[in-house]
């Protein structure tokens, strides 16, 4: 009889809390959104499933050592890759190997939109300070505005490891919500005439330029923001593997096997780190509100800067301000949003190629911003 009581004491029936049940519902919603509506399924399926795993109501901190925060548990070891900042650079390696930077090289002035769209990072940093977060915590929260999950996780792991769960979840959630968050802001800040601006087709880019790009990129960004070296170094290395065309095998591995393995482990561990007991706090609510604000400000920053650039550009060279919203680093979702909004205004206006330029510049921009934050605060 004692054995049965002991067994029942170990089950979820005895240990479930309302918080666990709430988080399980959140996990199920993530899985539903990913499968039914295809919102970032590559991220949301592992994260949603991780939330279920992390909130299955087991007895925490007992001899079984099951939880992600239990010393020596398997999940704890996997979580080390997040806490030590190992996974984000590996993801950047894969992104570099996947990304074609030629839209950016063919129209370099669009790179500036990727810088402008980092506005949300720095304004949210100020906002987070006013909500009572410390200086490093505020920096880690602000980076959500870059809309780049790996960068947010990397910076949080360096500056505020105790907030990594909510920051990572907020960043990944808002990346998935790009098609819902961005369009109203884009429409609000642009006129119908601006949305129908047709841009000149991009010029072709030589192989030599493509090879020079990652080398010049790492040297420039490395000198400006050495803190971003783990992320940008891997990003540009991945791109050099791709563009050199002599390391096809390595590029193929980086853009498929490595990034897939890391994405699965990263997603599951981020999800599992949202155990109700540690996740459902006032700080998490604030982080989610600040993250959404950061994302919206960044979108607005990109759109408004594109309009500002148009003041100085001649007729025929003007930029469709919708592509400014793609300056946030959610690749390629925000570029796709710019494309769909462009088509909505004019069914013959395809903006995807143009939007990819600020989009990939946003990846670089958010990583540089993270590096600068680290340089200031570490």
């Amino acid at each position: 009889m004692d054995g049965l009581v002991q067994f029942l004491g170990q089950t979820g029936m005895a240990n479930a809390t309302p918080g666990n049940l709430l988080m399980i519902v959140v996990g199920l919603v993530f899985i539903y959104l990913a499968i039914r509506h295809e919102y970032q399924p590559i991220l949301l399926v592992p994260i949603g499933f991780g939330i279920l795993m992390g909130n299955a109501p087991f007895l925490q901190h007992n001899i079984l050592a099951l939880g992600i925060y239990d010393e020596g548990s398997v999940m704890n070891y996997l979580h080390m890759g997040v806490l030590k900042g190992i996974f984000p650079p590996l993801i950047f390696l894969g992104i570099g190997a996947m990304t074609d930077f030629s839209p950016l090289m063919s129209n370099p002035k669009l790179i500036l939109l990727g810088a402008a769209a980092q506005l949300g990072i720095f304004l949210t940093y100020i906002g987070a300070l006013s909500l009572g977060f410390t200086n490093p915590e505020s920096s880690a929260i602000g980076i959500i505005g870059g809309a780049d999950g790996p960068t947010a996780i990397f910076l949080a792991s360096r500056l505020a490891p105790h907030l990594i769960g909510p920051i990572a979840l907020a960043a990944c959630t808002y990346m998935a919500m790009v098609p819902l968050i961005q369009p109203p802001i884009m429409r609000l800040l642009t006129t119908k005439a601006e949305r129908t601006i047709k841009m000149k087709p991009p010029r072709s880019v030589t192989r030599l330029e493509k090879v020079i790009f990652p080398v010049a990129g790492i040297l420039l960004c490395g000198f400006m923001a050495p803190g971003a070296m783990p992320l940008l170094g891997m990003l540009f290395l991945g791109n050099l593997l791709r563009e050199s065309m002599v390391t096809k095998r390595l590029a193929d591995t980086a853009k498929s096997t490595i990034i897939d393995i890391v994405t699965i482990i990263l997603g599951v561990t981020i999800g599992a780190s949202t155990q109700a007991g540690t996740f459902l706090t006032a700080a998490s609510v604030k982080i989610f509100v600040l993250g959404a604000t950061a994302f919206m400000i960044s979108t607005a920053g990109g759109v408004l800067f594109a309009k500002f650039m148009n003041l100085f550009l001649s007729e025929g060279n003007k930029i469709n301000p919708l592509i400014g919203a793609a300056g946030v680093a959610a690749v390629p979702e925000s570029a796709k949003v710019a494309q769909s909004e462009g088509l909505r205004a004019d069914p013959s206006n395809h903006l995807l190629v143009h939007a990819m330029a600020p989009n990939v510049a946003g990846v670089i921009g958010s990583a540089v911003a993270a590096g600068i934050m680290m340089s200031f605060l570490l």
């Binding site: 940093y125 100020i126 006013s130 505020s138 030589t206 330029e209 960004c221 400006m224 921009g365």
Partner: protein
Amino acid sequence: MAMTILDLPAVIDLSAIGIEHIRLAITGYSAVFAALFLLAMLFILLPKILSWNVRRRNPSRENDPQDALRGGMIPGEVSAAIAMAISLYFAELHDQETAILTVKRVGKNYSPWNSKIYNVINFKGHQR
């Protein structure tokens, strides 16, 4: 008591923002701009430097349209023409057909269970 979004205005404390924080934000944003501006300048200048080098090496053929191709730079209109030609070619191309329309011949291995002759000679009516 759990905090809600409605409670947020009450917890805003603007006095926590110091001049050093504003300085960090402005400097950080400027540094992001500076890094990407330098990258943009590099890629505005780079094609000019590369094409200047090509022209310097072959001054006599400055207007030769083949120059662009030698440098690996295919003009946009040429790319469009090639794309259109490939598209038309594949649109015109008819599928290779095998002449086997629906039925695929499947070989059967011999077994007493599917042997026609075995079944026929063991049929009682036949033995009679």
